[in-house]
Amino acid sequence: MFPFTYHRPVELASAHALLVANEEAKLLAGGQTLIATLKQRLASPSDLVDLARVPGLTGIAREGGALVIGAMTRHAEVAASQQVAAAIPALADLAGRIGDPAVRNRGTLGGSIANNDPSADYPAACLGLDATIVTDRRELAAGDFFLGLFETALEPDEIILSVRFPIGGTATYAKFANPASRYAMAGAFLWRGEEGVRVAITGAGQNGVFRWSAAETALVADFSPAALVDIGLDGDEMIADIHGSGAYRAHLAGVMTRRAVARILERGSP
């Protein structure tokens, strides 16, 4: 690691002030990507602002028709929560399949979506459930939050407080995990409700998570795996790397979406 100054503020205002005062400062949430990057000396922030002691950033609560999860809530907490399992079981299931136990015990919801890794799981849930990202200054619809590869609408000194997931409808997450990292090679978060169908694909798109609108249209007309047989994604727009080509990921995203549809059909209406 390169040297940096470590801060552990105990209130949100101090965390924000540290970000404003130090242009090269980085927020530290669970550190499951950032610490690995620092160890490799691939980043050298002047200051690390640890959010661990800032009050009000953790916890799971039901507020009206939504589930509100604090930005610093660990994946393991979401996976084990009875409240999440009862309100949005697909979300608890997704959290329980992120990375390995070490990642789940340290990694956080806010850290995952702020990083917006193109293969991360939570961004798919946010888009698929049409969640709202609540920051220290505004509320952003998930569709306006994720802008591209590792890019979000967050300002440099903006801090995510929580994410609000609307309850209702039926959802499921089908993921083909890389056997080593458990990152999604392709993952499809499918939601079906009164307003229609949402399909969010992660792990595949070169610009990160995206809504697969052609699949949504087809599923609104005919909610069955067969409706997707003739619909494909463009392999040239998918991630190509040592683990798989773009064409492979395009195919895999289709397979995951069909599995998700089949799973919801098996389960029946809620």
Binding site: L34, T37, A43, D117, F150, N207, I239, D241, I242
Partner: protein
């Protein structure tokens, strides 16, 4: 990896060619370019900050122009050392074709990354290279051709 593409630029070929040889224009268009100093008519010294997700590395290197065929084509190559982060090098054959007062800029680029940055970023190098190439040619097109907003202001 290889990248090919083309970009339509609403400017005459001569103007596009001049911009392709202008250190100031290149500095403004190369993503993350902090410095670009012309050492000779065909050589530049550059400092580029590569920021992708959590990774932020500064590369110091050289940009060289060769196979100059004004105002039609050249080859642009860059090579940088990012300290412990590794190295990055890339090159592009660029050629210009006139079309109804506008210019079509074609490119065939190759990019190579090595060292730690390649290990950690192995699954992202292709996507990142495409994104950076898109940013460069997008910015270049905006710098060289008058923006629609400007022409509106001009009419007023």
């Amino acid at each position: 990896m290889d990248l090919t593409g083309s970009q339509r630029i609403e400017a005459p070929r001569e103007a596009v060619w001049r911009a392709l040889n202008d250190a100031d224009v290149l500095r403004r268009c190369i993503p993350g370019c902090q410095e670009l100093v012309q050492a000779s008519p065909t050589e530049f010294v550059a400092k580029v900050v590569l920021k992708i997700g959590p990774v932020k590395a500064t590369f110091a290197g050289a940009v060289t122009l060769s196979a100059l065929d004004p105002p039609n084509a050249y080859h642009i190559a860059g090579e940088g050392q990012g300290g412990v982060a590794g190295f990055a090098k890339g090159g592009a054959k660029v050629w210009l074709v006139e079309e109804e007062g506008a210019t079509i800029l074609h490119y065939e680029a190759q990019a190579n990354v090595g060292g730690k940055i390649a290990q950690l970023g192995a699954r992202l190098i292709d996507s990142t290279s495409k994104k950076l190439a898109g940013e460069f040619f997008g910015a270049f097109s905006r710098v060289v051709s008058p923006a629609p907003a400007d022409s509106v202001a001009h009419v007023e």
